[in-house]
């Protein structure tokens, strides 16, 4: 940390993630943000990847915008370990002294970013939806939701201190891979120091998601507390199927155990950005809106004409869903027999 002056180093380090053996969408998005920032700061972009399979993804990282890729290739990094990853990210940051380190607001980022910041005395903003460079003052500005999405806060980094930011999914445009980009790949072959691993994973219970994930869906039909119970979700599932969409939910149906947590959209659930979002029986709490506001078109069905959800919608119908959803289903079936 102390060797090189941090103020002079303009490197942006992206902490990469993989998803079923491929570069994760959040990592592509981080590159979209990192490249734009690097073009303003005049720095380079470096990437850290974890696991044996990561070497195969290094060329893609370069095509996406990395000038240098570090591959922690030991098998001990194949699965996420907070202790091992925290130690490695801290080491790499200490060695290359980046100005900015970007992670996703993911299981990895939420876990590792605060721990690395504590170890290195770095600045930290979590769950950013924007990261900008303030050239005049030579600092990074982060915009992040607070108060359950009711407010946005703009934070400014302090000069000369490593800045660590986690970035919310779908908030930066994905980088487009460019053939012929040149970059260097450096393999970090060492195993993590066994003494740093204090927490041991003894069981991973994987929830198999059926069909399309909410985050990737083009059409989402979401239900809120206004559905009154699990039966309402059976009804909107039919509507979603007819529209080729996926069913989501707000916090109330999840808290009431009508639907599993994996269906929650909002501040503490999934962040989605479909082409079409149909909100049924959803009042429009800030913490829900923050999870769906990037949808291209929003349609609301609610019997309360004053529901906040209408204010952020493009199309609305004031009606009881129990009356109108069966009619929508009937109409769609009639059109596609």
């Amino acid at each position: 940390m102390r060797g090189k002056s941090m103020a002079e180093n303009k490197t942006i380090l992206v902490i990469g993630e993989t998803e079923k053996g491929r570069t994760a969408s959040i990592t592509r998005e981080l590159f979209g943000g990192a490249r734009a920032l690097a073009d303003q700061t005049g720095g380079d972009v470096q990437l850290l990847l974890f696991g044996e399979a990561a070497a195969a993804l290094a060329p893609e990282g370069i095509a996406l915008g990395a000038d240098k890729v570090y591959v922690a290739s030991h098998a001990a990094y194949n699965e996420f370990s907070s202790d091992a990853y925290t130690a490695l990210v801290s080491d790499v940051c200490s060695k290359i002294t980046p100005a900015l380190c970007l992670l996703g607001q993911t299981d990895l980022g939420r876990d590792v970013a605060p721990r690395v910041a504590a170890r290195l005395g770095a600045s930290l903003s979590m769950d950013c939806i924007e990261v900008n460079f303030d050239a005049e003052n030579g600092r990074f500005l982060q915009t992040r939701p607070a108060f359950g999405g009711k407010a946005l806060a703009v934070m400014a980094s302090s000069k000369g201190r490593l800045q660590i930011n986690t970035v919310r999914a779908k908030s930066m445009p994905s980088a487009v891979p460019q053939d012929g980009r040149k970059g260097e790949t450096i393999t970090l072959a060492e195993a993590p120091d066994a003494s740093v691993i204090k927490v041991k994973l003894i069981e991973a219970k994987k929830l198999e998601t059926e069909g399309v994930k909410l985050e990737d869906a083009k059409v989402i039909v979401a239900g809120g507390g206004g559905l009154g119970g699990p039966a309402g979700f059976d009804m909107i599932k039919q509507l979603a199927d007819l529209l080729g969409g996926v069913v989501g939910a707000t916090r109330v149906p999840v808290d009431e155990n009508w639907v599993p947590l994996s269906m929650e959209i909002g501040q503490t659930g999934k962040i989605v950005s479909p082409e079409l979002y149909i909100a049924i029986g959803i009042s429009g709490a800030a913490q829900h809106i923050t999870g769906c506001i990037n949808s291209k078109k929003i349609v609301t069905i609610n019997r309360d004409p004053d529901a906040n959800m209408f204010k952020i919608s493009d199309l609305g119908l004031v009606a009881d869903y129990k009356t109108v959803v069966p009619l929508l289903i009937e109409k769609l079936k009639a059109m596609n027999p």
């Binding site: 907070s82 299981d107 939420r110 970013a113 605060p114 721990r115 504590a118 170890r119 930290l124 903003s125 979590m126 769950d127 500005l141 607070a146 108060f147 009711k150 407010a151 946005l152 806060a153 703009v154 934070m155 400014a156 980094s157 302090s158 927490v199 041991k200 994973l201 003894i202 069981e203 991973a204 219970k205 994987k206 059409v219 080729g244 808290d255 947590l261 501040q267 082409e275 079409l276 149909i278 709490a285 506001i293 291209k296 929003i298 349609v299 204010k311 952020i312 919608s313 493009d314 199309l315 609305g316 119908l317 009606a319 009356t323 109108v324 009619l327 929508l328 109409k331 769609l332 059109m335």
Partner: protein
């Protein structure tokens, strides 16, 4: 932990503006970059912190032991303490000092860490996964680093087996179970279920309870690591975003016509 498995548990709780406050009542002072709390409305214990208290009480009920609560701040600290005691916690300390004002997550973690050191022995520290005001979710992890103890974030259950913790936590595609040596720090998430509502006897005990106040000198908090001067990322702007769109309301002469019109419009925008 003693041989019988009794646990010394410390829970960190934060008083915050009620997160259920409807958006219409949520206001920001754009000059001061501060939220304006509605007049006469008391702060509440951050909901994730009530889960941390609940998790501590469940362990105490199963294994025996003691639950100590820490909170930091100037406003409504006694209120949230009384709630924790009414739920069943044994004692509480309030960290309060003008030098703490304006502290960020790192400073908060430093002050709480010092308080934990003053308490001395503990098996487990519990926090909420994030405070439901600033939603950062960093204090627990940073405290664990400052104390040099293992940490698991966003847990849904904690069990004690053979002198070790078995912690299950929520991840994007399911959950993971960890074996964690003691002492450790765990942050709790909503998946653990509901926190108990304080009842009769607890409320009476809580009403009479006194909470010692500790300042910077009492816990040995370092001046350079606390308060607004230590803030690493400064707040330059706080504002209420406008997500307003122009909503076209579909009107039909009856529900069937309205539904038919809506279907037509939906199909026109459907990808």
């Amino acid at each position: 932990m003693d041989k019988g498995g009794k646990m010394e548990i410390i829970v960190c709780i934060k008083p915050i503006l009620d997160p259920e406050l409807p958006p219409a009542k949520f206001a920001v002072d754009g000059k001061k970059n501060q939220v304006i709390p509605p007049e006469g409305m008391p702060f509440v214990m951050s909901p994730y912190d009530t889960l941390a208290v609940e998790a501590a009480l469940r362990l105490k009920e199963a294994k025996g032991g003691k639950v100590t609560v820490l909170t930091l701040g100037t406003k409504f600290t006694e209120d949230v303490m009384r709630k924790a005691i009414a739920m069943g916690a044994d004692e509480g300390f309030i960290l309060s000092d003008p030098a703490f004002e304006g502290s960020d997550g790192f400073a908060t973690a430093h002050i709480l860490t010092q308080a934990v050191k003053k308490i001395g022995t503990f098996d487990l520290i519990l926090c909420g996964r994030q405070a439901a005001d600033w939603d950062a979710g960093i204090v627990g992890s940073v405290m664990a680093e400052y104390l040099g103890i293992p940490v698991v974030i966003r847990a849904k259950s904690i069990d004690v087996q053979d002198g070790k913790l078995k912690v299950e936590r929520v991840v994007a595609n399911g959950s993971e179970v960890f074996e964690v040596p003691i002492p450790a720090l765990v942050t709790m998430s909503s998946e653990m279920g509901q926190a108990r509502i304080p009842a009769g006897r607890g409320i009476i005990i809580a009403a009479k309870k006194q909470f010692p106040k500790w300042g910077a000198a009492d816990v040995g908090a370092e001046a350079s690591k606390t308060g607004s001067a230590s803030v690493r990322n400064s707040l330059v702007k706080l504002f209420i975003p406008s997500y307003q769109r122009t909503c076209e309301i579909v009107n039909g002469k009856d529900p069937a016509e309205a539904a038919a019109m809506l279907v037509e419009k939906i199909l026109a925008i459907k990808p």
